[in-house]
Amino acid sequence: MGYKTKALFLSASTIVSATMASVGLPAVAFAQEATFVLSAREVGAPSYNPIKATRLNAGNTFIYDRMVIQDADQSFHGQLATSWESSADGMSWTFKLRPNVKFHDGEPFNAKTIEWWVPKFAGTENAFMTDSIAKVEIVDDLTVKFVMKNPDPNMLFNMASTFMGVPSPKAYDALGDKYGVTGAVGTGPFKLESFVVGQQTVLVRNEAYNSASKLSANQGPAKIKKLTLREIAEDSTAFLELKTGGVDMLLSVPTDFLPKLQAEKGTKVITLPGTEVFYIPMNTSVAPFTDIKVREATAFAINQKEILTNLFGGVGAEANNFLISSLLEAKVDPKLNISYDPARSKKLLDDAGWTVGAGGIRAKGGVPLQVKLWTQNGTEFKRITEVVQAQLKAVGIGADITIFDAATITAQYKKLNEHQLAVRSYSWGNADILDWFFSGKRLGHPNHSMWNDPKAEELNLKAMKGSRTWDERVANFKAYHEYVLSQFVFAPIYQPVQNFAYSEARLSVPATIRGTRLQGQTIVDIEKK
């Protein structure tokens, strides 16, 4: 071997050795540990800082407790707060705090924590969460009073948000900008041991945990000692990991994987009511959707039942209005709900002057009823969009599908008048989503319907700012929702459920999962076999 060849081999082996040393692969997992895979949608969540991060993964609810948490029926339950009350005028909220709670770093949780915590949101991307709070007053060591700028009946919903996990003031201030990345300290059932964004988070049990809510059967420390949360972007890979025993649980399973998982021996699938709705916004500023008859015809051309049955095997529910079914604001006048009615759809198009032409596509004045139908990449989106295209054609509306990635489609919406129809979804458990998607202040994106109607704006303002109590808020949002429905600015399609899958041989999971998602309240009850 010549000198040059030797040098080449030497250089290559040096690179390999140096790289191997820096990669530093950890040891094989121990039997008492559990490994869960986070939802593919949560891959790349950059931080465990609930005050500043705009994306958080499920692990946040394992590290942090919140003041209150929400059950699947939308009811609220105390966690760090044991009770609360709002003044009659809605201008103050008083919270009694749970005693004897300590952060993972040994610091006490008390009224001073809340006095420090609420103002921390000011100037962050999550500031809207606490916008309505003017100041926090300490009543005693375990009682705080929020003095409001304006009544906010949505206070409990905000307090139950994942972004309202309460961090340790001492750790938060000490770590500064690195908080949530190099360290995160809460009062929750698990302590953060390590976090590599996009890869995995390792959590260890908080042996002193004593702040479980009533949604947990186990009121003490979690049963799992060490929990690894892996981030796997490819659903097929995650499925194969569960199948081969590489992981114990998938915290999200796409509905099209359900048949495969249900056929797997030793794998159990749990479903929870979903918070997602698939729908079609119609651009009301672009012909032919400037005509309410065409919008109404489009909405009644969508066969929700067919999509639910044929695409999703009956798992989930039809969407007949804009909100998830568990919300009170979704219980609108039944006449306003939108369900498949092809005869009505065809009659409306006839009335609007669109007559059936060559190839079954309608036309008016020689112009065919051919529209753009946008969607984003992802198997579910593509499949739903293809079925929607066929359903529209059945009533005489031709649709040309264009698929974008999520970031590009948002930029395209902002061009305001480029889009006509789109298949999209949102995931949210509050009626204020109506404001997000239909407010005249957000035309293009996220108001993809380009809906800017004086009456709608008035109802929106009343719902968003004019409610003092929860009941008033529900009534106001219901009225707003009903008006939006009456104007056919979107077509509802489908409400998926949340699917989780785990190995029955390796995990023991409660028969009933409490809460809106599988979060910290359930994790304390899960046991490694």
Binding site: K4, L8, A12, I15, V16, T19, M20, S22, V23, L25, P26, V28, A29, G44, P46, S47, K52, T54, R55, E125, N126, A127, F128, M129, F163, D177, V181, V196, V197, G198, Q199, Q200, R230, E231, I232, A233, E234, S236, T237, A238, L240, E241, K243, T244, G246, D405, A406, A407, T408, T410, A411, Q412, Y426, W428, D432, I433, W436, K441, R442, H445
Partner: protein, 308 residues
């Protein structure tokens, strides 16, 4: 030789500037921006404007490029908008994983490719030649993404020999290395075969036969040695390719690395990270080319002489 190295290094400077401009332009001209990924349900248009200004995204593109370039020349690739860490730290965290995968895949494809190419050349036009080249052709036409999934199904799911994904054990490296490396064997084998057949026709080989050296000694001791020059050139060009090829494989195998970081950041339009990752891949290609040229010049003085 020193003059040749300096000349080649100086030639890289304008290439680097042009590449940095292309990288910056491409990512900024693609529709979408990182602020959309940061907007929460309930946040206001004013908050959006404030965030856009905070990250300097309201400035004209040439100004943004100038700021990025000036920082980059000081070794600062900026702060990730979404991931909120210094880009250099994110790259430092991920690059070793990609390098390890890339180097092992390169080594695998080189060794197997040279052996396969040499066998095909030695047994030219026999069933061995035809079998080797057919298998290689098949291997090179299978997309690495699909090949990765097939390898998982066979070796991880059916046989249970290796883990499906991740980077938690050394055995987790085997399937990704195979998925990348198998695709690279074809080129190395073909170049080796053609080079060996070409060298075999040279006069000095006739002389070696006339001297009575054994067939194997001539083939592997002399012909293969001389045939390695074009192989080394090809290998150096593949350094960048290997890192780039790891992008999809890291995704399929849920491995850390530049590829995973790039895809995550691209989906969220985290400009500084995407720019940093693409820059690293471009530098890998440039360095690969440079190394190839230098090795070639070192092995064949005619190369450096012709360039002066």
């Amino acid at each position: 030789m020193l003059g040749y190295i300096i000349k080649r290094l100086l030639q890289l400077i304008p290439v680097f500037i042009v590449v940095s401009m292309i990288i910056f332009s491409i990512i900024h001209l693609v529709p979408g921006d990182p602020i959309d990924s940061m907007m929460q349900i309930g946040s206001t248009p004013e908050q959006r404007a404030e965030l856009t200004a905070r990250y300097g995204l309201d400035k004209p593109l040439p100004v943004q490029y100038g700021i990025w370039l000036a920082k980059m020349l000081r070794g600062d690739l900026g702060e990730a908008i979404i991931l909120r860490q210094p880009v250099t730290a994110l790259i430092a965290q991920n690059l070793p994983h990609s390098l390890l995968l890339g180097v092992l895949a390169l080594a695998f494809s080189t060794i197997v490719g040279i052996v396969a190419g040499a066998l095909a050349a030695v047994f030219k036009d026999s069933w061995i030649d035809r079998s080797v080249m057919t298998l290689i052709l098949l291997g090179s036409t299978v997309p690495s993404f699909w090949l990765g999934l097939l390898l998982i199904l066979l070796f991880a799911v059916q046989l249970g020999w290796f883990p499906v994904s991740g980077a938690r054990t050394w055995s987790a490296l085997v399937l990704p290395v195979l998925a990348i490396g198998l695709g690279g064997i074809a080129l190395v084998a073909r170049v080796t075969r053609v080079a060996m057949l070409d060298i075999a026709r040279r006069d000095f080989v006739m002389m070696l036969h006339a001297k009575g050296l054994s067939r194997w000694r001539i083939q592997f001791g002399h012909i293969l040695r001389h045939a390695l020059l074009p192989v080394v050139t090809i290998l150096s060009l593949r350094i960048g390719w290997i890192l780039g090829g790891a992008v999809t494989i890291e995704y399929v195998f849920a491995r850390p690395g530049l590829g995973s970081l790039l895809i995550t950041s691209l989906n969220q339009r985290d400009y500084p990270v995407v720019q940093g990752c693409l820059l690293m891949l471009a530098i890998a290609v440039m360095l690969g080319t440079l190394i190839g040229d230098l090795v070639q010049a070192a092995m064949d003085p005619r190369v450096r002489d012709s360039s002066t």
